[in-house]
Symmetry: C2
Subunit: 330 residues, 2 copies
């Protein structure tokens, strides 16, 4: 991924920075609206739920704390913007996801550390988000690159990887905007500390990079990767067949693709966006049709995603997990 | 509930009818957009998922079937509109909900059929939707009224209660618009038959009515009901305290309120709508503060709502269930 040089990219970058900057204003407006309505209620209603007004004040404090963090995250944005290789970094990041385990188990079994030297195994993680799965893989000694398109994610991962040099030095209030389905007021205002590991702990000879940009545009070279690991990623495509085809092409002959996730199709019903949403049965036909051999396949893998554990509404994905291999003779 | 006589109500009625009428056009446009994008893909991608195009055609047929049903539902709408008591009916309706069981169990235990004559027990079900819970209660012999505000619901319940005189005579495709998280194409196009019971099976001496209108406006008379049963209802309020206060007022002294549901707060973040969203802890303070005595209380009651059982994304509400009583001496 090169410089943010063209006008369109510059505009996208500015829009992301603006969204970050608007966070505080928008959030406080939202709270003020509830406050105003509350104060218009009959006095005896207000008295019955006096503590609700105090709760709205606590929420304001959480928003201020989140905004403080945002300001730190975007502080170096201009520097990053002018940097030739803005988010490539030999670094690391937090946020543990239970859904990484089956992927890592598979990598360890396919590329045992006592076999081929781990640093000679090249693993790509498209849709890397904050980079945690890629970091975990690099920590095991493999050469690992995370790829991410969203600047929201990239700015946050840059902050964690380059600015955090100890564990639990920052606090965020991830569920402060979930006004509904709370059993207790403190379920909305609970904080999470990060990073849960020190990004500087990665050994100096490990090879971990993050690459910014559109997966289909960044990865055009054939037969490069020993393994592509995708977690909650393939449904980020307008055309899922293009993603699968690219994964097939960039894998070395005999290389493997490990996938875990649902089929949420992020562009479905998004205005101005094209989208097709084939069921898993059809996705499977694409995989096989392109030449992959499916070696493992598991339905109904229970996974959650960024969930408030205390919420009265719980989501559960029944994800698909599979491993498939590009034929040796291509 | 009287006539739809004022201009505002007439306009609301027309907007609901328009929405029903627009269903087919909108749905087919949505499918055409995917079709168009699919046909713009490289030929070899189209070949890899040929059956997806056939699937889109099957979806069209499901939409046509749903639209046929909608036309039947709104056929008598004008007649209904001019009727003095548009949706009061001595009738019944379908759709079984597992979350009704704890409520019905409680009613049977509080008002045992071998005690006070069931027909002398007056039970109100606000937010009755299609009326099924109220129907089940009436079937047990109690005098039961369902109250519903949404004309979408009222039109559908009128159709089922007055036009369906046998079981499983109609088919609907409830999940045809869920384009994402399907394991197989047929999970999107599966049908559901209704009604699952014959609405005419209610004994002639039973007393079941549906009343249209805003709960806070329709129920203004004190000390009328032996029991108010609410299921996924109290979070439909702008101000939940007003709902709870009304429930308290309209209950006879010694009467009980049975509630099951989450706190989704339907007006939260809806533009032009006022909303406060107190947590359950605060809702509980309102209940006790108004004079109710809580007799039973259970958290974490696992309930689902209109869920596609085959979807790769499953929602689960951890509902609150409680029973509280209005003091005898008020």
């Amino acid at each position: 991924m090169g410089e943010w040089e063209d006008e369109e990219e510059r505009a996208y970058f500015q829009s992301v920075i603006s969204a970050f900057k608007y966070y505080r204003t928008y959030s406080l407006q939202r709270i003020a609206k509830s406050e105003q309505y509350f104060k218009s209620l009959p006095d005896h209603h207000q008295k019955l739920m006096e503590c609700y007004l105090q709760h709205l004040n606590i929420i304001k404090n959480c928003v201020e704390a989140n905004d403080y963090l945002i300001k730190m995250i975007i502080k170096d944005a201009d520097y990053m913007f002018s940097n030739v290789n803005p988010v490539d970094q030999n670094n690391i990041q937090p946020e543990r996801k239970s859904c990484y385990d089956p992927i890592i188990t598979e990598i360890l079994s396919e590329f045992p550390p006592d076999g081929k030297k781990p640093e000679d195994v090249k693993i790509l993680v498209p849709g890397a988000g904050l980079g945690r799965l890629a970091f975990e893989i690099a920590k095991l000694g493999y050469t690992c690159q995370g790829n991410e398109f969203s600047l929201f994610m990239l700015l946050a991962s840059q902050f964690v990887l380059n600015k955090c040099c100890n564990t639990n030095i920052h606090k965020v209030y991830p569920w402060v905007h979930q006004f509904v389905n709370n059993l207790k007021p403190e379920h909305q205002t609970q904080s999470v500390s990060f990073p849960d590991i020190n990004p500087r702990d990665l050994s100096t000879n490990s090879s971990f990079t993050m690459a910014a940009g559109d997966f289909l545009e960044v990865y055009t070279e054939d037969n490069v990767w020993d393994c592509v690991a995708t977690c909650f990623f393939i449904d980020c495509a307008n055309n899922v067949a293009a993603f699968i085809e690219t994964i097939y092409k960039i894998l070395k002959p005999g290389g493997i693709w490990i996938n875990l996730g649902p089929l949420l199709y992020h562009f479905s019903d998004v205005p101005q966006e094209d989208s097709i949403e084939p069921s898993y049965e059809v996705v499977r036909q694409i995989i096989v049709g392109l030449g992959f051999v499916i070696e493992k396949e598991k339905m109904d893998v229970s996974t959650s995603y960024a969930q408030n554990p205390n919420s009265m509404l719980q989501y559960q994905y029944r994800s698909v997990f599979f491993i498939c291999r590009k034929c040796l003779n291509v």
